[in-house]
């Protein structure tokens, strides 16, 4: 995209007015980037066809900073929603895309975001079929907010529900936890520390699809522990079905740098946000095969079985510590905060 020919280098209120400037922004950036038969109709919405049941999920992205190591708000907005649709046991197909831009955002930054949205959508195999762009006054937003809604076709073999979980079912994760949250933390104002930590933001839909192709309804649940982290999500599931969760600290994959950063900042990786991580609950009869499949997939090289569901201690997540003691893992309250000493 040639910024010089656009005639503007920052986005202002006029770009959200619906008039000529809006058209210019849409034609030169949005439609040009995302061109596809649905969007090219330039209608108020799009009509699409689905074969079976539809899964839908929506999410808003307000992350700061908008560019970070390993990604930016744009690809996050795609992967986040694609993954949420996938967690329903569905194959994501289409996305809506809505921007709320704070006036003053550099067009260059906007294009960078739009370009990575396109790349992430292509990688995930989804099309952008409708969208919206609004501009708000300076101080009324934080550079850019993005909302995406995803639509997917439920996998014919999927039967995903917390209610299917029984005692003895195993819990697996597809890799290192806490990476995204710590990468963002390392770039937050006032907390900058040098590290090579990168967000693990990525699409998980193809690994999910492969798991469903192979194991069907023996897969009980997918869940991506984004905000609140693994600890909060496990607690949610346990209380939803009045069962206990038993996990072992030694089995939970935490990358060395992430562990060191958490240690330094006084944060618990169990509560740090993830993006490219999901947990799978499976029947114990297939745990080894599932682990093997996941480890052989690019999005699951560091997969691990971390624990299981139990009829003991209902509604509680109990973790065996590295030294063999036991503690409960309670849900996160508020935000994890830096400590005094």
């Amino acid at each position: 995209m040639d910024i010089e020919n656009l005639g503007f280098d920052t986005i202002n209120l006029g770009h959200g007015s619906g008039g000529e400037l809006t058209r210019k922004l849409l034609d030169n950036i949005i439609f040009k980037t995302f061109s596809n038969p649905y969007l090219d109709q330039k209608h108020d919405g799009s009509i699409v066809k689905f074969e079976g049941e539809i899964a839908a999920s929506t999410d808003s992205f307000v992350i700061t900073p908008i560019f970070f190591k390993g990604g930016n708000i744009g690809e996050l907005a795609v992967y986040g929603t694609v993954n949420d649709v996938a967690m329903c046991g569905a194959i994501p197909k289409y996305l809506s895309l809505a921007f709320i831009v704070e006036e003053g955002l550099k067009v260059e930054e906007f294009i960078k975001i739009v370009t990575s949205i396109k790349k992430a959508a292509d990688e995930s195999g989804v099309l952008i079929i409708t969208g919206d762009t609004k501009v708000v006054e300076k101080g009324k937003g934080d550079k850019i907010f993005i909302n995406t809604t995803g639509f997917g076709e439920v996998h014919p073999k999927a039967n995903i529900s917390v209610q299917n979980i029984k005692a003895g079912d195993k819990i697996l994760v597809n890799g290192f936890i806490a990476q995204h949250g710590m990468a963002i933390m390392s770039e937050r104002e006032g907390l900058e520390f040098e590290s090579d930590l990168e967000s693990d933001s990525t699409n998980l839909n193809f690994l999910v699809e492969e798991l469903l192709d192979n194991f069907g309804d023996k897969i009980k649940l997918f869940r991506d522990p984004t905000r609140g982290g693994l600890g909060t999500v496990l607690h949610e599931i346990a209380t939803d079905i009045s069962k206990g969760v038993f996990i072992k600290e030694a089995l939970i994959p935490v990358e060395k740098q992430v562990a060191a950063a958490c240690e330094m900042l006084g944060l618990d990786p169990m509560y740090v946000a993830n993006e490219g991580v999901f947990l799978v609950v499976v029947d114990s009869s297939i745990e080894a095969e599932v682990l093997k499949l996941m480890k052989n997939h690019t999005k699951g090289k560091n997969s691990a079985i971390i624990g299981e569901f139990t009829n003991e201690h209902p509604n509680k997540v109990v973790m065996e510590s590295l030294i063999g003691g036991k503690r409960i893992v309670s849900p996160l309250v508020g935000e994890q905060l830096p400590r005094i000493c």
């Binding site: 201690h313 063999g324 309670s330 309250v333 830096p338 005094i340 000493c341």
Partner: protein
Amino acid sequence: MKYLSEYRNLEATKKYLDEIHKITTSVWNIMEICGGQTHSLVKNGILELLPEKVRMIHGPGCPVCVTPLHLIDKAIELLEQGIIVCSFGDMIRVPGSKKSLLEAKANGGDLRILYSPIEAVSIAKQNPDKEVVFFAVGFETTAPANALSVLHAEKEGITNYSILTSHVLVPPAMEAILDDELCTIDAFLGAGHVCAIMGMKEYYPLVEKYKIPIVVTGFEPLDLVQGIYMAVKQLEEGNYELENQYARVVKEEGNIPAIKVIHQVFEIGNREWRGIGEIPNSGYVIKEAYKKYDAEVKFNISNIKVLENSACIAGEILRGIKKPYQCSQFAKVCKPSNPLGAPMVSSEGACAAYYHFSNNLID
């Protein structure tokens, strides 16, 4: 991280636990001073791995917990006056008499969460038209950095920076606890990081006066079980000595440059402890020469007085008289999402430790 994994090693920890079981014949009450130690004990499940006769009593070493209520109200007052208030993270959710700093932020206050007071000086430099206050709380561990921030501001001629301070000291608190007639403590685990700054020498007189073992101890599981082992061994043998389990960090003389910085800016004075009351000579106050960096003087807020929530038994918790689960409000009315007092919200508070990690909550 090898350095950490070695101190979280199952076999090594188990070896000391076995030894503790072997040598324990009587009931011993051991107080760990520091809230960081309390959390590690509970989080790693160490309490239940100890013999029943070895009872850990949780001490007052949680800086957030002992910061007086009126000081939080003062910080909020500063925020509401349009002053930029900078704070460590765990201070901001602690309830003041009406609200917390976090709630004051939601109402439009410019609150910044920092890891170091030096960053607050930079903020003051970047905002010359605004006043910037650092909420300088803590034990001897945070005093050097807070003092250094004042010296930095002075050196750079920054006049819009000051600190709202409530610095407390460990040895006077230990003495106050030992002088309490309800005290049942047989030995202390000294706070490792406080001693890393101050050294060991302040503790010899306590050992002699009260004939009580003190073992300066670290924070990892192996540190704690080794420290407990050393304390139990002394008790079983009828000894009372000052020992250093945390020698990899704590030197006899402490950190001399850090102590020097503290003494340049602060002097010993009376301090109020939340839940305990005023203890003579138990904290640092800003020296006369640096009074212009004292936010209480600068902004005339020293007359704010408030009363504690009477349902909260933080005082008894902090003195080790009661355990969190012995409080009628614990986990019922008082939760991290609705804390009645500071020990439920601070990352080092005993109530928060029990609420988040304890097996007492496993049905």
